[in-house]
């Protein structure tokens, strides 16, 4: 080290006060990178120097707050805005696809014995579960045990499908679109911090989540149904963007422990590592709540493509045949993949 310990030590005070020349600053920092004892002393002096700022604190003009937050969000969109913009884009896309359907195609079976019109009616029912929470001002719904009924979404969906079978398809489409637009407006108009409010997801038995997580579920389900309609039209699938895949994958990983619990597959407690590869992928440890995931190695590691995981989440892939690789206990992996399909839209 050309700049010896002693030379740097006597510069540390000036360095911590930003009172060195550019060259001296560079040479001090080069020394700190390789000298833990000087680095610790430098940290300490830098913290004290910064503490001097407390003696001159003065509130900025009030108008600066909005300007700073707006400039920040313009440079890196807030997660909430990213999610609501993504959901809005998929609503727009699905609407465009529905516009192209002929009367015969509206009545054609698309998936799970449902026609295109049935699918949209089903989407109206699941969107409504969130839209109603937002319309009541507070996303915080009163804890009503009767509402914690896992069959509720299916009942609502069946009722909507029955009702809409007597409607002109265009009317079904308009009703879905109007409700989706209202939902977005309500989500966006509630101001900063609103996306952190707790709401219930489609399955009311899942633990309440921040509104932005519920919007990821809406984005995800709207994409899946747009994909269904695209297949009906003979158009190739369009996957979500890389960022959206990442949001959907994180949504799935976050809720998998609860899905395993609801499926009664959490006893004995097992942990798994989920490795999603390709754009939007990531690496998660799925462990029962309260278990320290880092404490022991996972019982199984499941590796698969991130977009395929999103399809699996939407119950549009068979857990037995979706391409994936397992290390460790195959039964734990199979349970995880089955539980994944229950977090989707059906």
């Amino acid at each position: 080290m050309s700049n010896g310990h002693a030379a740097v030590t006597e510069l540390l005070g000036a360095w911590a006060l930003d009172a060195c020349s550019a060259e001296e600053t560079a040479s001090v920092e080069a020394h700190l990178a390789g000298c833990p004892s000087c680095a610790a002393e430098a940290d300490r002096l830098e913290r004290v120097a910064a503490g001097l700022a407390t003696t001159v604190a003065a509130p900025p003009p009030a108008r600066l707050r909005d300007a700073v937050l707006a400039a920040a969000v313009a440079s890196r969109p807030a997660a909430g805005e990213e999610v609501s913009a993504g959901y809005a884009a998929w609503v727009e896309r699905l609407d465009g696809l529905l516009e192209r359907l002929t009367p015969a195609q509206w009545r054609q079976r698309v998936v799970h014995d449902l026609t295109a019109q049935d699918l949209v009616a089903h989407l109206i029912a699941t969107d409504e579960l969130l839209a109603a929470q937002l319309a009541h001002g507070g996303a915080e719904t009163p804890e009503d045990p009767a509402e914690l009924d896992g069959a509720l979404p299916a009942r609502r969906s069946a009722a909507a499908i029955g009702e809409h079978r007597g409607w002109a398809p265009e009317r079904t489409r308009a009703a879905w679109r109007a409700q989706a637009d209202r939902l977005l407006r309500d989500a966006r108009s509630s101001g900063p911090g609103a996306l952190e409010r707790q709401v219930r997801l489609t399955d009311p038995r899942l633990p309440p989540q921040p509104l932005r997580t519920a919007l990821v579920q809406r984005l995800f389900e709207t994409w899946i149904h747009a994909d269904d309609v695209r297949a009906l039209l003979g158009s190739p699938p369009v996957p979500p963007s890389e960022r959206q895949v990442a949001l959907i994958a994180a949504f799935g990983a976050r809720l998998l422990p609860a899905a395993l619990r609801l499926a009664g597959a959490d006893r004995p407690p097992r942990s798994a590592r989920l490795v999603l590869v390709g754009p939007g992928g990531g690496d998660w440890t799925i462990a029962p709540a309260g278990q320290d995931a880092a404490a022991r190695p996972p019982d199984a590691t499941v590796t698969m493509d991130a977009v395929e995981f999103c399809y699996l989440l939407g119950n549009r892939r068979d857990p037995g045949s979706v391409p994936h690789r397992v290390e460790g206990d195959p039964a734990v992996a199979a349970t995880l993949l089955r539980a994944t399909t229950t977090l989707g839209c059906d």
């Binding site: 006060l17 120097a49 503490g51 001159v56 003065a58 900025p60 707050r65």
Partner: protein
């Protein structure tokens, strides 16, 4: 404000939670802005620096390491560096342009300073420093001078300026640590 808050705000910023940035701003914008005004003595520059610091934090929250100190210390360090850069750039500009107007004088924010309990302890510790160290630190930290400029201003050798800054900061650190104060 405890360390849990520092950690939690950091995690929420990483997750893109705009409300966390709002909380951080509400808590620490007086520190950032007050320091920027004091060092630059320029309202507009202080606003620019404040914006720059919070936008930077929003874009790269992982640069903050809660294990190494508080948000206050981290933002104070970021702000000071920017303010000092501004002072040195503006001094260079003025040397180049003979008719340069003096910077817009801002009222001394020390008069309107927010007197928090940490601030009072820090101020008391500063007041108790030997006069030579106190003056050297004031010139370097609040006026943005280099230690060479401090030496020149005080008419002392550069080596003396360096050691006054170092000894003064160490004395402050020891006293605040003894009092259990973490700015």
């Amino acid at each position: 404000m405890d360390r849990r808050w520092d950690q939690e705000v950091c995690e929420r910023l990483v997750a893109g939670d705009e409300a966390a940035l709002g909380e951080l701003y509400d808590e620490l914008s007086p520190l950032v802005y007050g320091l920027a005004v004091r060092v630059t003595r320029d309202w507009a520059a202080a606003e620019d620096i404040t914006q720059d610091v919070f936008v930077r934090v929003w874009n790269d929250p992982r640069a903050f390491d809660p294990a190494r100190g508080t948000w206050g210390a981290w933002l104070g360090t970021m702000t000071h560096r920017r303010a000092v850069d501004w002072v040195r750039r503006s001094a260079a500009r003025q040397r180049r342009t003979a008719d340069a107007a003096p910077p817009v004088a801002a009222p001394d924010p020390e008069e309107t300073a927010v007197a928090g309990s940490v601030a009072k302890s820090v101020q008391a510790a500063v007041d108790d420093l030997p006069a030579g160290q106190r003056e050297a630190i004031r010139l370097a930290y609040f006026d943005g001078l280099t230690y060479r400029q401090v030496a020149e201003t005080l008419g002392i050798p550069e080596g003396t300026a360096k050691s006054r800054l170092w000894l003064g900061l160490r004395r402050l650190a020891a006293r605040l640590e003894a009092e259990g104060i973490e700015p």
